[in-house]
């Protein structure tokens, strides 16, 4: 059991960036918008967080900058998809391409630099609980924020009036429109919040987790987040479970490599990607066609008030 603690603890930390992105995408998709640009948004967030932290010496400013950048770039996606009715899949891919390229372009000068990021902040009483303590409460503040965020979002979606509207607009935007609410504004808002959270996840990688900048450092985490939304059936709590699962695989991978093994590195590195496919297949088999009962009914479809039937 003792051996597990450092692994579980690492799983939490490693899963946190994915969790932020996944939570963001849950919000976006629940509003009916599919945002496949998470990978690009995470990279832009990672870069912004890193560069602003380097420039100002304040990692919190870096994180804030990342969120702003994420919101701004996802606003492009919102504009194209919500206002202009563009194909949401392709638009998301464009965001990924753009974000990957821009972060690499701007980040060229920062490769190899390091920053003083955010350190660990153990929680006094809770950190002493056997097993759970060191696993859950011996992390940096952003991990704790993510815990709170998961709980908050669960409550927000189920019990508040805005949560009700959110659930409605992704299922039947016509109903929301006829109630007099502005579907476009809602979708813009949730797309931007989702993008901001994704960027925050990316910034976590560069500002907290590694405290470095490397081109394409997210290594597909943005895509794993998209998969986790499906795997978690659009539920924040299940998404957390999924994120930590992947975090665990990532952490395990590092340990196996460090421990010295005959398994060639590339094959080990494949684990998260293979696992993503396995996990997706598993949930698709389990829910069958009914997976569509979990997905917001209007996901990915543009909404225009029908002029004539």
């Amino acid at each position: 059991m003792e051996i597990l603690i450092p692994i579980l603890s690492a799983a939490i930390r490693s899963g946190t960036p994915i969790l932020y992105a996944t939570l963001g995408e849950i919000l976006t998709e629940k509003a009916g918008v599919l945002n496949l640009g998470l990978e690009g948004l995470m990279l832009l967030g990672a870069f912004s967080g890193f560069s602003v932290t380097m420039a100002t010496g304040n990692p919190w400013l870096g994180l804030a900058a990342a969120v702003i950048v994420g919101m701004a770039v996802s606003a492009i996606h919102a504009f194209l998809c919500v206002s202009m009715g563009a194909n949401q899949v392709v638009s998301g891919l464009a965001i990924t391409m753009f974000g990957t390229g821009l972060s690499a372009l701007l980040g060229k000068a920062y490769v190899g630099e390091t920053i003083q990021g955010i350190g660990v902040m153990p929680i006094p009483l809770l950190g002493k609980i056997p097993i759970l303590g060191p696993v859950l409460f011996n992390h940096d503040p952003l991990v704790y924020v993510s815990y709170v965020l998961v709980g908050f979002l669960c409550w927000f979606i189920a019990s508040t009036r805005w949560g009700l509207t959110l659930r409605a607009v992704g299922e039947n935007p016509r109903a929301v429109d006829s109630a007099g609410l502005n579907v476009s504004r809602l979708r813009y808002a949730y797309t931007m919040v989702g993008g901001g959270l994704a960027a925050l996840g990316g910034a976590y990688l560069s500002v907290v987790y590694t405290q470095m900048w490397v081109e394409m450092m997210t290594a597909g985490r943005g895509w794993i987040a998209v998969a986790l939304v499906i795997f978690g059936i659009w539920n924040p709590l299940r998404a957390a479970f999924g994120s930590y699962l992947f975090g665990g695989v990532g952490a395990l991978q590092l340990r196996i490599q460090a421990a010295g093994t005959t398994i060639p590195a590339p094959l080990l590195l494949m684990l998260p990607y293979v696992l993503t496919i396995v996990v997706l297949v598993a949930i698709s088999i389990k829910k069958g066609k009914g997976i569509l009962l979990g997905a917001p009914a209007a996901l990915g479809q543009s909404f225009h008030r029908e002029e004539r039937d």
């Binding site: 496949l36 690009g40 492009i76 504009f79 194209l80 202009m84 009715g85 563009a86 194909n87 899949v89 392709v90 638009s91 891919l93 464009a94 965001i95 391409m97 753009f98 974000g99 990957t100 390229g101 821009l102 972060s103 690499a104 372009l105 701007l106 060229k108 081109e215 290594a219 597909g220 895509w223 998209v226 998969a227 499906i230 060639p264 590339p266 094959l267 590195l269 494949m270 990607y273 293979v274 993503t276 496919i277 997706l280 297949v281 698709s284 088999i285 069958g288 066609k289 997976i291 002029e307």
Partner: protein, 356 residues
């Protein structure tokens, strides 16, 4: 909050728009790119001139553009096929790589000192490898409705890691010293070139396949089925068309063509596989397909354009020391503008005559 115009749905799309929109989109993207370059302290004029000269300014540049256009056309056709059915094959990158790996495997384990034989063997094995790689994702989608965007994407990462495994491991060229790469292809496995350029016979393949695809979409039964399914899956089912079978088939063919692109890259151009082999062709192909509106002949044209962009990017890297990623930014911008431009295909802005 009243605006001086209103948005109206079009009944049909005038033909001139089919040209104006892509051209306008690219122009807008270049403009946006210029702004970006300006903020980076690079003269947009200098950069664009350098790109133009490098790609289209002389015979060598032109030939290099064609060299890049070949895999883009093939992959663009591949991606376009799946998109026609609204199946999102984002895995062209991985399928290209798998095709190349298959070609290397054939050379390594089944070498015959005859170009025609090697060509056929490599062609078939690359098509099979790419086809199976995509077909697997297609099967998952057909059988259990597993999201193909994610599966094909994950398989991209897996394919690239697989390549790394082979390059650094069992297929490493012992004589390559510090640099990991496979052994160079013997002459019998190299595709013939045109004149003194690097343009290889893959060009003929690309053009032939484009023509084939045009016939496919316009005049064959399967092409009709694909288009119907892509347009309205419900109506297709009602018409007795088999969705599952078609998803599988379309993904397989799509992957096969992408695999062929990989084969021509390794057998025609590079002669070996090094890290960074595919360098994003699979993703650029998505832009090609979308910009060409899934039209096979348009794909050739757009591939040439984007090939010029890539060569221009190479020039920028050499001449102005901008990283290759800058081109990716421009590609993203082009796609944004194309997506935005499509709006005008379906709607038009009408000024309001008199207010109320």
């Amino acid at each position: 909050m009243s605006v001086p115009f209103r948005v109206e749905r079009r009944l049909d799309c005038p033909a001139w728009l089919n040209w104006a929109i892509p051209v306008g989109a690219v122009a807008t993207a270049l403009l946006a790119g210029a702004v970006l370059l300006f903020f980076l302290g690079v003269s947009p004029l200098a950069a664009y001139t350098a790109m133009f000269r490098g790609a289209l300014g002389d015979a060598w540049g032109l030939s290099e553009t064609i060299v890049k256009a070949i895999p883009l056309t093939l992959a663009g056709l591949a991606v376009g096929l799946s998109f026609t059915m609204v199946v999102w094959n984002i895995g062209a990158e991985g399928q290209i790589v798998m095709g190349a790996l298959a070609a290397v495997a054939v050379v390594r384990y089944a070498f015959v000192d005859s170009l025609p034989v090697m060509f056929v063997l490599m062609f078939l094995s690359a098509a099979l490898a790419g086809g199976l790689w995509a077909g697997f994702a297609g099967f998952l989608k057909a059988r259990w409705n597993v999201n193909e965007i994610i599966t094909t994407l994950m398989m991209n990462y897996i394919a690239i890691l697989l390549t790394e495994y082979f390059i650094y491991g069992p297929w490493r060229d012992p004589s390559s010293l510090g640099f990991p790469m496979t052994a160079p292809f013997p002459d019998a496995a190299r595709l013939p070139l045109f004149g003194g350029t690097r343009v290889h016979v893959g060009l003929v393949l690309a053009i032939l396949l484009a023509l084939l695809f045009r016939v496919l979409y316009r005049w064959t039964r399967w092409g009709f089925e694909l288009r119907v399914i892509g347009n309205n899956a419900n109506a297709a089912r009602y018409a007795g068309m088999d969705y599952m079978k078609n998803v599988l088939l379309a993904m397989f063919v799509s992957g096969a063509v992408a695999g062929i692109a990989g084969m021509t890259e390794v057998a025609g151009l590079q002669g070996r596989i090094q890290p960074g082999f595919s360098s994003g062709y699979g993703y650029t192909a998505i832009i090609v397909a979308w910009l060409a509106r899934l039209n096979p002949l348009g794909t050739i044209l757009v591939s040439f354009l984007l090939g010029a962009l890539l060569v221009g990017g190479d020039t920028l890297q050499v001449v102005m020391r901008l990283p290759l990623a800058s081109v990716q930014v421009l590609q993203g911008l082009i796609l944004f503008c194309v997506l935005g431009g499509e709006f005008f295909r379906n709607y038009r802005i009408v000024p309001i005559g008199k207010g109320e």
